[in-house]
Amino acid sequence: MAPSATATAGELEPTRTAELVPRLRRAWRVARRRPASAIGAAVVGLFVAMALGAPWIARVDPLQTDWKLVRKAPTLAHPFGTDDLGRDTFARVVWGARISMQAGVFSILLAIAVGVPTGLVAGFYRGALDQVIMRLTDAWLAFPFLILAIGLVTIMGPSLTNATVAIGLGATPTFIRLTRGLVLAKASEDYVLGARAVGAGDLRLMSRHILPNIVSSLLVQATISIPIAVIAEAVLSFLGLGVQPPAPSWGTMLNTAQQFLDTAPWMAWWPGLAIFALALSFNLAGDGLRDLLDPRDY
């Protein structure tokens, strides 16, 4: 009896392989209708390639100082100019992509890893547990992001890892709330009730029936959160609370650049433009993704 019962429960949800082809077709349609999103996705891809291929793209060592090349304007050999220690700004911007991507992606993965299960449990069981979790979340949300990050960095000390953790913890309540709201909406749907009726346990209901149906909304939230996390890392590093020199983070580069605005303005252009371009393309791509996965909204 039991195996057939689970098979019935499995048939109640849409099978994913059958959805792949129409989904790809829809992706192509969205890409054609929203060229800006397609370009955004392509630029995100470029940044990923830049982060992964940093050693091959930047032929110069980003930490190599050269006293003969202090604050030189852009030339063919150094297309983005050099900084106050004669380091190649181009190489530093390229390597900075790695740090930014790391902080942006891993912090949001952390937020998802903590927030989604918590929200799932809160929304699924409701009652007192839900109340406790939500009050904690409310309190957590009351700390403005940067103030929270500053508090955490004060306790843990400044570094890329700690900044990533701080950013991730800052983004966690958003995922708890979102997941809980989505679960509340899905838990009373017929297919969940049906699965429960044929004997699916709590864990199975959550992991096989509810989670797959809320994944697209979570994915959309992640694409919105990553650019925010990327900017957050830059801000923390800019304030000296994140990546420590001499590591090439866009935020630390801007911090140094601020001292030489009148003599070497190029030092401030490129790292900032890189953050802007990465955040903008993530947001554009995210808009397209929302269109693709969540066609009912908008």
């Binding site: 939500m134 009050r135 904690l136 409310d138 309190a139 957590w140 949300l141 009351a142 700390f143 403005p144 992001f145 940067l146 103030i147 929270l148 500053i150 508090g151 960095v153 004060t154 306790i155 509340l184 650019p227 900017i231 830059a234 801000v235 800019f238 304030l239 000296g240 609370l241 801007l254 650049a257 601020q258 605005l261 009148d262 303005p265 401030a268 790292p271 900032g272 953050i275 802007f276 955040a279 903008l280 993530f282 947001n283 554009l284 808009d287």
Partner: protein, 320 residues
Amino acid sequence: MFDFLVQRAAISVVTLFVISMIVFTGVRMIPGDPARVMAGIDADAAGIEEVREKYGLNDPIPFQYVRWAGLALRGDLGHSIRTRESVVKTVATKLPITIELAFLSLLVAVSIAIPAGVLAAVRRNTIWDVLTSGASLGGVSIPNFWLGIMLILFFSVRLGWLPASGFVPLWVSPLENLQRMIMPAFVLGTALAAVLMRQTRNSMIEVLSADYIRTAYSKGLAGRIVVFRHAIRNSLIPVVTILGLQMGALMSGAVVTEQIFVVPGFGRLIVEAVFTRDYPLVQGVVLLTASSYVLINLLVDVSYSLLDPRIRVGGSASGA
């Protein structure tokens, strides 16, 4: 209505309680003896003993919490390690500067976002809509500290029109104060404007499709009157809520903006406190910021329910 206010206030009290526990625990997570942490690296034995006595650091943790919270409620958040001034007094001298900055940037944000959002909604799917949506996306994506640096580069370094940094109190010279505040306020305001613009547009679009708007049009009212007298007012209610929720972002933004433009406000205070390991000051500032965020949002909810009598507890419970 009354029930709603009571429940909303009760939730806020619980939230404040949890916040105080988080902050209390946070300080105890700093490695080392809490008495030494609170008294400072170069405090002598007497100083450490004084702190130990004041906060009852030899008592069990729950007692310590009650004592600490009691002092905090009476406005005693300890003393800055560096200046020996009381934390509350230090914050009180810095806060007006940040409030001025926040007010000016709110002014910038509202005066950009609301007209633009309304325009985008009324002229939906035209070039105006595309332009404002694009500007909004750009505003969300631009790191505001970089925008600040670029403004300094252009207006101060290149053109020499505005001083790059510093602060002159409003009562000393309003003109010089404004000259120095205009760039920070703009930087902080654009980030907020981007969010508000999108919210105004969406909420305006929703209102414009409501029945009473159709009725207003079918009565023969001019489009201008329908938009200004009927639609805008109703569409701004959700915008007020977003404004409350954005207060946190505004405080975070103030930290960075004050750092770039060397404005001696609240935000600069906390960064300095972190670097000088002034733990009582960090603790006090974090506690005050989170508490004021809760109180501001309570006020927003209260005003919201006054503006819109349809709001009932049910609405807030499902959103919680």
